[in-house]
């Protein structure tokens, strides 16, 4: 469970698909709609940030304004940057009540077996999940080992040197239009530092992080795994993130130092009015390992290609991604692997499902820089299309500037065979149960990589997505 959701708990800003019309009077501070120097300065001032950050934000704004919209990927013609609130600080007392939450969302929470307190949190009824006690002891334990686990705004305040050393070094604002946008208006996200040699043997979940502010649209996460340390970080939420926000544009930067290991697991299920445009990148040094496990459901358009830069010999990268595109949705997702040093290894496994006219696109890049000899890369992407209205495309880009490399790419597109349905139905499964089982099996190799409770929820989510899809 997560803060993605937590941060999106400002339900009621603007109009949204579930028919919410809520005034913003209850919020302590709301910037006006749109984006300009004044708003960006205001955000920085509200947060009491140092000058360098304000300058950074303003410079990023210029870059954002200069950069053209990407000409590839999904359709963003309906996205209006001037029609968005870039900064909303919720008041201490949320006025929203559980009864205001649309019934289908409540029902879904029930079906997912989410506890009451958590449901309210997810629905934006409660500002934060009541887990102070758990969090408190967890935090204390980690702090003893020198681990920093806080929200990014606090990270900037409380660890200014460490923060500045790494911030925006992996994804500079110049990188792309949306990283520039995030750099200008970012708020919230996680700031994590794992000191050399420290192993955290349970997944750290954004869920347990206490946010003082409910920000989710432009979160900024920075993770540093120092030499020989290891971390499994889990963010995102398997319950539908229901939010009035029409644009979610996060930046996630990760540094894995020599011999370190980092696994970053995300499952996101956005309401289907959201543009989800995320830049995620990790730099991995000697013998380090970075793994992205990325599940994308919901949203109107998702464009997300977690990247791994293999900077030094022996570095390894792996991305496992699942995309589920349903009615009116386009999942344009994939991975990037950049081999900058010899003897580096990468692997991409991507699975996508398209149904009810949904569209899924695999877009991936494997790049081998000059001098990066003896690299190996293996890419497997499988697409499952559930009906003739749905669509799947594959764009695997490979750029190689070195001859001594081994690059493999396999792609498959399949449909649910009538014979598979018949076989399962002849054993008493309904058509929907049979389809769901086939789809669950299709993603099983990835789902089994998820922490147990996420795997269970992922399967339930797929069942929910599949319900009523046939017949």
């Amino acid at each position: 469970m997560s803060t993605d959701t937590a941060e999106n708990s400002d339900v009621g800003v603007g109009d949204y698909q579930f028919g919410f019309h809520d005034s913003t009077e209850n919020y302590a501070f709301t910037s006006r709609k749109g984006l300009d120097r004044e708003i960006v300065s205001q955000i920085s001032e509200m947060k009491g940030e140092p000058d360098w950050m304000r300058e950074f934000r303003l410079r990023s704004l210029e870059i954002f304004l200069e950069k053209p919209m990407p000409r590839w990927g999904g359709d963003m013609s309906e996205l209006d940057f001037q029609d968005i609130y870039y900064y909303v600080k919720a008041s201490d007392h949320q006025e929203k009540s559980w009864d205001d939450v649309p019934e289908d969302i409540r029902k879904t929470y029930d079906r997912l077996g989410i506890p009451e307190a958590e449901k309210k949190y997810l629905a934006g009824v409660k500002a934060q999940y009541e887990s102070e006690v758990v969090y408190g002891s967890l935090n204390e334990d980690l702090a003893k080992q020198g681990v920093i686990f806080t929200d990014t705004d606090s990270g900037l305040r409380e660890h200014p040197e460490l923060f500045r050393k790494y911030f925006a070094t992996i994804i500079p604002p110049e990188d792309n239009k949306f990283s520039a946008l995030n750099s200008a208006v970012w708020s919230g996200g996680s700031f994590i530092y794992i000191p050399p040699g420290v192993h955290i043997d349970f997944p750290l979940q954004a869920y347990f992080r206490i946010n003082t502010q409910n920000m989710g649209q432009f979160e900024r996460t920075l993770i540093i795994v120092d030499e020989g340390a290891s971390l499994h970080y889990v963010e995102g939420c398997t319950a539908p993130t229901y939010s009035s926000d029409s644009l979610h544009s996060a930046v996630v930067e990760i540094i894995v130092n020599k011999g370190g290991r980092c696994r970053y697991t995300t499952i996101q299920n956005w309401s289907n009015n959201v543009y989800n445009l995320v830049t995620k990148r990790a730099a991995v040094y000697q013998d380090g390992l970075m793994e992205w496990v990325d599940g994308n459901l919901g949203s109107k358009l998702t464009m997300k290609y977690p990247a791994i830069y293999l900077m030094e010999p022996g570095a390894r990268g792996e991305t496992l991604s699942i995309a589920f595109a349903s009615k009116g949705q386009h999942q344009d997702a994939g991975a990037k692997m950049v081999h900058c040093a010899p003897n580096t290894l990468s692997r991409i496994i991507s699975k996508s499902i398209s149904k009810d006219g949904g569209r899924s696109t695999y877009r991936g890049l494997v790049k081998v820089e000059k001098g990066a000899e003896n690299c190996k890369s293996n890419v497997v992407c499988d697409a499952l299309i559930l009906d003739p209205e749905s669509k799947s495309d594959t764009f695997p880009y490979i750029e190689i500037e070195e001859s001594q490399v081994a690059i493999e790419h396999e792609a498959s597109v399949s449909k649910i065979a009538e014979e598979q349905l018949l076989y399962l139905m002849s054993r008493g499964l309904t058509e929907a149960e049979a389809s769901a089982m086939i789809v669950t099996g299709f993603v099983e190799p990835l789902v089994k990589e998820l922490p147990m409770e996420y795997a269970v929820e992922m399967n339930r989510l797929i069942e929910l997505q599949m319900e009523g899809s046939v017949g």
């Binding site: 079906r111 065979a417 009538e418 014979e419 598979q420 018949l422 076989y423 399962l424 139905m425 002849s426 054993r427 008493g428 499964l429 309904t430 058509e431 929907a432 149960e433 049979a434 089982m437 086939i438 669950t440 099996g441 299709f442 993603v443 099983e444 190799p445 069942e463 319900e467």
Partner: protein, 270 residues
């Protein structure tokens, strides 16, 4: 009281091609029937039509269980009424564990009123039963954790069908060439398995070219199919005769159907 599966004047076509042309057959619980006949005579078509394969369209006649017409029921509903088909070519379902699949199947078949999303049979009881059933069929417990038919040998697939049969305990079991493509050890295992499972509660229709399966499961009735009709019915000795002498005599005794058969074959080769 024993139930009856009744097939009356059944006509079935696939696409535009009529395959079954008036099949009559009655199977009571506790009876073993053998269905034999040359390739292309319609044996598998009958099995699929009985199970409700959507490609096999009933144009005339009825299938009923205990007087209730099941023509319009889908395979899932038929399974819940107690029908079971052991497939000639069991299908692979990658990523789906045998145990997970079987638990859902057993929950539905034993509780036909169960709705999607309702709770499944108890995990503990199911596991115990599955383990014991597998033991009885000399199957390694590890099978339960494998993906359904994924990477299974021919023999393993057929044993998986028998395991499903054992767990679902159908009232009427149709076995479509369950003994084909197996070496003699595998045929023995499958035949013994079936013999253990059948009894007064199960009516069995065995479709086969061979005799081995019938050695272990002696048929009360043997039917011969030719050109989409059952042309002869006898006892176990008929199966023996067909096995020894082939279908030449049958064709002679039924020249009309034999001519149709020849016509069909010519059309198929054009």
């Amino acid at each position: 009281m024993s139930l009856k599966l009744k097939i009356e004047n059944l006509h079935v076509r696939v696409g535009e091609t009529p395959i079954l042309k008036g099949v009559n057959l009655e199977i009571a619980q506790g009876e073993i029937h053998a269905l034999m006949g040359p390739n292309g005579s319609g044996k598998s078509t009958l099995a699929y039509a009985l199970m409700g394969h959507p490609k096999y369209e009933i144009t005339e006649g009825t299938i009923s269980i205990d007087g209730t017409n099941i023509n319009d029921l889908d395979p899932c509903e038929r399974a819940r009424l107690g029908m079971f088909l052991a497939f000639q070519y069991p299908v692979t379902i990658p990523g789906v564990k045998v145990a997970d699949f079987l638990r859902l199947a057993v929950s539905n078949v034993r509780h036909p009123e169960r709705k999607e999303g309702e709770s499944l049979i108890s995990m503990r009881e199911f596991r115990t039963e599955l383990r014991e059933t597998m033991k009885q069929l000399n199957m390694d417990a590890e099978f339960a954790r494998r993906y359904l038919n994924d990477g299974f040998s021919g023999g393993e697939k057929k044993r998986m069908e028998i395991l499903q049969l054992a767990m679902l305990k159908p009232k009427f079991a149709l076995l479509d060439e369950t003994d084909s493509g197996l070496d003699s050890d595998a045929v023995r295992v499958v035949s013994e398995g079936l013999a253990k499972l059948s009894g007064p509660e199960m009516g069995v229709l065995i479709i086969t070219h061979h005799e081995r399966l019938l050695e272990y499961n002696k048929p009360d009735f043997t039917h011969v199919m030719l050109a989409g009709k059952i042309v002869e019915t006898g006892d176990a000795s008929l199966a023996h005769e067909l096995h020894a002498h082939g279908y030449a005599e049958v064709r002679k005794r039924h020249p009309e159907e034999a001519a149709q058969e020849e016509e069909q074959q010519q059309e198929a080769t054009v």
